[in-house]
Assembly symmetry: C2
Homo-oligomer: 255 residues x 2
């Protein structure tokens, strides 16, 4: 492998920097991942790597893993790495990775799917993906204007969990109609989730940060659920609410 | 009131800008709050206001509330407001507020207290305060190196909930020794919180973002608890974990 390690060229720098913009990510169908933990996770995943820019010590430490990947390997200094990505500090690696195809899936019987209706903040989306991974929810479906999965802030906030979920963007109404399963929607005036007794599977649906679940999707919600409040805060952040609902549904799930 | 409205002076600008730094907040024992919702909440709270810098329309809309406060009122433009605080956009108000005294309290019988051991990120602390308020947990105790309550990012992330909680910074070991109540500590290898049966009151203790609960506090934990994972994520963010634990404890609480 050592023979094929290249040095960082101006064109490569320009190419990687272009991937900070959605326009170029969509055009190239590639995105980037940075930091030791996330890059190791993506090397271990079924994502296909195009480029791996890494420090000598990262290359040395992960030699076997890198050899088994398809990536072109480029050695760079910490300073060079920090000029490529979004991290203030990066002494390990940055990978350029091919996107997966946005293909829908059938409803996975006996499981929960997490649905997001217009969650716009990349940090929230990333945190939600990490939560889904914690709770073993492997499948997610997003409305078309939900934040972009491959946004660097989303990828960063997932802490590597982006490698372990399936997802697609779609018209949620059509998807829910086709699936014909229970859709548990998070509302401020639904049934207290602590009073639910048994659940087996279905969609857990979360809405937009400001407006909640949109009216045109609300009609497809079969069960409106609410996290009980005991104090005076008006709401919970959508990622926080997702975690609390997933925790309750997994606790109540009858296999 | 209208007679006493002043214009923004250079000295006031300088004073408010100094409050971005902890050093000056500590020296003056004041902090600032910005944005319509939070400023209205602080006007409605028992915090004592020193200054209220606000747009004409905010002053007009909240006239009665402002008249009942002790604040010196200064009228300013949106642009001036945006130059004072941390918000990119602020068309309403910024308040300079006196800190409360850091006084300890006795353990509130029959309730939960949230304890934080070295939670360092201001956004996490603010989100945790909002969660405590949602779950009706009014009392919090922080280790001495937990993030500063009056940091502008903390205040902002609480979404107004900072007005509704009591807190103090202390040596947690001494505090827990004096209180002599159950301390439920969040660990990755504790008892599954879904399997707890009944709880009545005690401390819910969360640890540092990277290192969890420190060893020297661990000895004061009476019950190690864990959020069950069903997937492969290694951990949950501390604010997310706080919400899930509070949700479980409030669900299980026997009055």
């Amino acid at each position: 492998m050592a023979e094929s390690i290249r040095m960082l060229s101006k064109n490569t720098v320009k190419f990687i920097k272009s991937l900070h913009q959605k326009k170029f990510r969509v055009q190239e169908r590639m995105f980037f991942v940075e930091g030791e933990k996330s890059v190791v996770e993506v090397l271990n995943s079924d994502f296909r790597l195009e480029l791996l820019v890494a420090t000598e010590s990262f290359i040395h430490k992960n030699n076997r893993l890198i050899n088994s990947s398809s990536a072109h390997v480029i050695q760079a200094s910490q300073k060079q790495l920090e000029g490529l990505g979004q991290y203030q500090s990066n002494d390990s690696a940055l990978a350029v990775v091919h996107m997966k195809v946005n293909s829908s899936f059938d409803f996975p019987e006996g499981e929960f799917v997490l649905g997001l209706d217009e969650v716009r903040d990349p940090g929230n989306l990333g945190t939600i993906i990490r939560i889904a991974d914690w709770y073993g929810i492997k499948n997610l479906v997003f409305s078309e204007h939900t934040a972009e999965f491959y946004n660097p802030k989303v990828i960063q906030s997932t802490m590597g969990s982006f490698t372990r979920v399936n997802f697609f963007y779609a018209d949620l109404r059509r998807t829910f109609q086709a699936w014909n399963v229970p859709v548990y929607g998070a509302f401020l005036d639904g049934k207290n989730v602590h009073e639910l007794r048994q659940v087996s599977s279905g969609v857990i649906l979360m809405g937009n940060e400001s407006n909640g679940i949109s009216d045109n999707i609300g009609g497809f919600v079969t069960d409106r659920v609410t996290i009980p409040g005991f104090g005076q805060a008006e709401s919970l952040n959508v990622a926080i609410a997702t975690a609390v609902l997933c925790d309750n549904f997994k606790r109540l799930q009858v296999q």
